[in-house]
């Protein structure tokens, strides 16, 4: 029997609902986007785009190893500033490199659900980032996915390859300007972290109150490789559902997922799913959720299949309002002897003792709450360059966070 093509598989899954998250009516969004002119350098982008990027922590004019900016469906900047990193828009990369067929749709299935199906059926748009063998970057590659047209269905498909012994840092901000009321963003990302390569990937989401978001991410990590994956959502959104899946395929591979969410509304269903399939692998997933409203489902699933794998899940939530819900679902699936897997989950309120302590120093109840909440969200993220760490910290620290 012939193997069905990507197109055939996509076609079959057109109506296939996702396992998690609310169902999105794709028909209610427009799939044709107006084209945007490419520019030579990020500095030449419209002020509105630069400002939106800055808002999600992506300083396009600061030091970087390179930049990729996509407005709606058009790649407008794809530029490497460092010889160790190759950055292209994915459509051009697919034309240039035949080898990419070995990576395209290999970690995310085109027929996984209607969203992957929709991306597979559309002309490819997204980034191709390749850290070349043995090349280490200090400054991050900065990327911004900008949904600038109301009612658009923005589809993105990214491929990231960190070749043997390389080190790569990517920061991606996904955002809409204030005037875009409604929209859909579907992002497929496939990460190939090869032998002894180290990658940090930080994604900051800032959407509108009527925007729906369905990222679909697959990651594979080879022997001695590592990934530090960080996800930050601080602004209102209508719905998000994402459950990136990482496979630790080689001996000693390491993955860590850090998730920071400040929820005021909407339906936010996020988590990570890790398979520990090789000896001496380890994985950690830490999520911190503060809810002032809306529903947050914080998932974490670790599956250990070989002796000696180590995994730890931590889901901690602060529920500060009667209007919110935090549903924490840590799952551990042990399928071998000699595993070391654990989790801790807690949902609660701010400790009175901490509030009183700060109030005894002269902080009002509101100020004390804000200080405690900011501290709670300030997750220590390992494996990041200091500059990037400071940038991420500034995002969680600058917000006006209030208690009920």
């Amino acid at each position: 029997m012939p193997v069905p093509s990507i197109e055939e598989r996509a076609e079959r899954a057109r109506e296939k609902k996702a396992l998690y998250g609310t169902d999105v009516n794709l028909e209610s969004y427009e799939s044709e986007a107006r084209a945007h002119e490419a520019v030579e350098r990020a500095e030449e982008l419209p002020g509105e785009v630069k400002k939106a990027a800055l808002d999600v922590g992506v300083k396009l004019d600061a030091e970087a190893s390179g930049a990729y900016v996509q407005m709606d469906q058009s790649p407008v900047v794809a530029k490497s500033l460092y010889e160790g990193v190759e950055i292209m828009d994915i459509a051009s990369a697919l034309k240039k490199y035949d080898f990419l067929q070995d990576y395209w749709w290999k970690l995310v299935a085109p027929d996984a659900d209607k969203y992957t199906s929709d991306v597979a059926a559309s002309p490819p748009a997204g980034y191709f980032i390749r850290a070349k063998k043995g090349m280490k970057t200090v400054f991050p590659v900065k990327s911004c996915l900008y949904l600038g047209s109301t009612n658009l269905n923005q589809r993105v498909h990214n491929i990231v390859i960190a070749e043997e012994g390389s080190e790569l840092h990517v920061i991606t901000g996904c955002t809409t300007p204030a005037h875009v009321q409604r929209g859909l963003h579907i992002g497929v990302s496939e990460f190939f972290i090869q032998k002894n390569a180290h990658v940090s990937f930080t994604m900051i989401h800032s959407w509108g109150k009527e925007v729906e978001v369905r990222p679909r991410t697959g990651i594979t990590i080879a022997e001695g490789g590592s990934l530090s994956n960080n996800y930050i959502l601080m602004r209102p959104v209508k719905t998000i559902q994402t459950f990136p899946t990482a496979t630790l395929a080689g001996r000693g591979a390491v993955a860590s997922f850090n998730t920071v969410i400040y929820s005021t509304m909407g339906n936010i269903d996020v988590g990570s799913n890790v398979y520990l399939n090789a000896p001496e692998t380890s994985a950690e997933s830490i999520s911190r959720v503060v809810s002032m409203g809306g529903e947050v489902i914080a998932r974490g699933r670790m599956t250990g299949t070989v002796p000696g794998a180590r995994a730890h899940l931590e889901c901690v939530g602060l529920l500060l309002s009667d209007k919110g819900r935090i549903y924490s679902i840590p799952e551990l699936d042990g399928r071998s002897r000699d595993l070391d897997m654990s989790h801790e989950a807690a949902v609660g309120r701010i400790s009175e003792e901490e509030l009183e302590y700060l109030m005894a120093r002269g902080l009002s109840s509101e100020e004390a709450t804000s200080v405690i909440v900011r501290g709670f969200l300030d997750v220590e993220i390992k494996g990041l360059p200091e500059e990037l760490r400071a940038e991420i910290r500034s995002i969680t620290q600058r917000e006006e966070l209030k208690g009920s």
């Binding site: 400790s351 003792e353 901490e354 009183e356 302590y357 700060l358 109030m359 005894a360 120093r361 002269g362 902080l363 009002s364 109840s365 100020e367 004390a368 200080v371 405690i372 900011r374 501290g375 709670f376 969200l377 300030d378």
Partner: protein
């Protein structure tokens, strides 16, 4: 002498259980008072009631600070009016660095100098009280008070669980907070200190001491004399001897 704190006929209960009974105390501006007494006699309750921790319910009486009735004032208002407290067992605050807290408490404070004063530079970048040893917690409390510069500093056993070297350091910080380097007539910062064994009094100056038993003061006098009596005759013996009914 100008009166800084005046407590009149104060009764305080926690969870329905009365701890302080018809308690009276006056502290003049520039004075530092030591409180002695066995466990459970209401010393910590007194400080917490003055600080305004909500679960300490005032059943009767009043607390006057700088001429204002603060009996029902919120904690933060009292702190901004000039009341500062070193907690006996303070909580840790995740994600809040000590040096950032210093700036929040007092934006004009010189964090580096304050940390150096308490030999605590290495802790500025640590989360407040997180993973601190007993002695480190006490120094963290002193650092915060040095930033706050309260007019009335309240210290709940600043010497418990602290080694000799750090007791000296804490004692000198208390002297600094209560302006013991100035002539008595030019001091305007006051203090209340709870101490079990009086070790700290070898390194700091207290002007007056009180013995508390069963929720009230049973005896007052010179700190050295009272401490001598307590060591010789115990708390009750001290009260009977120095202040016979």
């Amino acid at each position: 002498m100008v009166r800084l704190l005046e407590i009149d006929d104060l009764s305080v209960s926690i969870g329905g259980k009365q701890v302080l009974k018809n308690f009276n105390l006056r502290i003049g501006s520039g004075e530092t008072h030591a409180l002695f007494g066995p466990n459970g006699t209401g010393k910590t309750t007194l400080l917490n009631a003055i600080a305004g921790i909500p679960r300490y319910t005032v059943d009767q009486g009043r607390i006057i600070f700088k001429g204002k009735d603060i009996t029902y004032m919120s904690m933060d208002e009292r702190a901004r009016l000039g009341i500062g407290m070193a907690f006996q067992r303070p909580p840790a605050i995740r994600g809040l660095k000590l040096k950032d807290l210093i700036k929040i408490i007092n934006p004009h404070a010189d964090a580096a100098t304050i940390l150096r004063t308490m030999d605590f530079e290495a802790f500025g970048d640590r989360d407040v009280n997180r993973g601190f040893s007993g002695g480190e917690v006490k120094r963290s409390e002193m650092v915060q008070l040095l930033a706050q510069q309260p007019d009335l500093v309240m210290l709940d056993e600043p010497d418990s669980g602290v080694d000799l070297e750090n007791i000296k350091l804490i004692g000198s910080a208390i002297n600094q907070l209560t302006q013991k380097d100035k002539r008595p007539s030019s001091r305007n910062k006051s203090g209340i200190i709870i101490t079990h064994f009086g070790h700290i009094l070898e390194y700091m100056k207290a002007d007056r001491a009180h013995v508390m038993l069963g929720g009230s003061i049973v005896c007052s006098g010179n700190p050295g004399e009272i401490l001598d009596q307590i060591k010789r005759n115990g708390y009750e013996g001290c009260a009977a001897c120095l202040c016979p009914a």
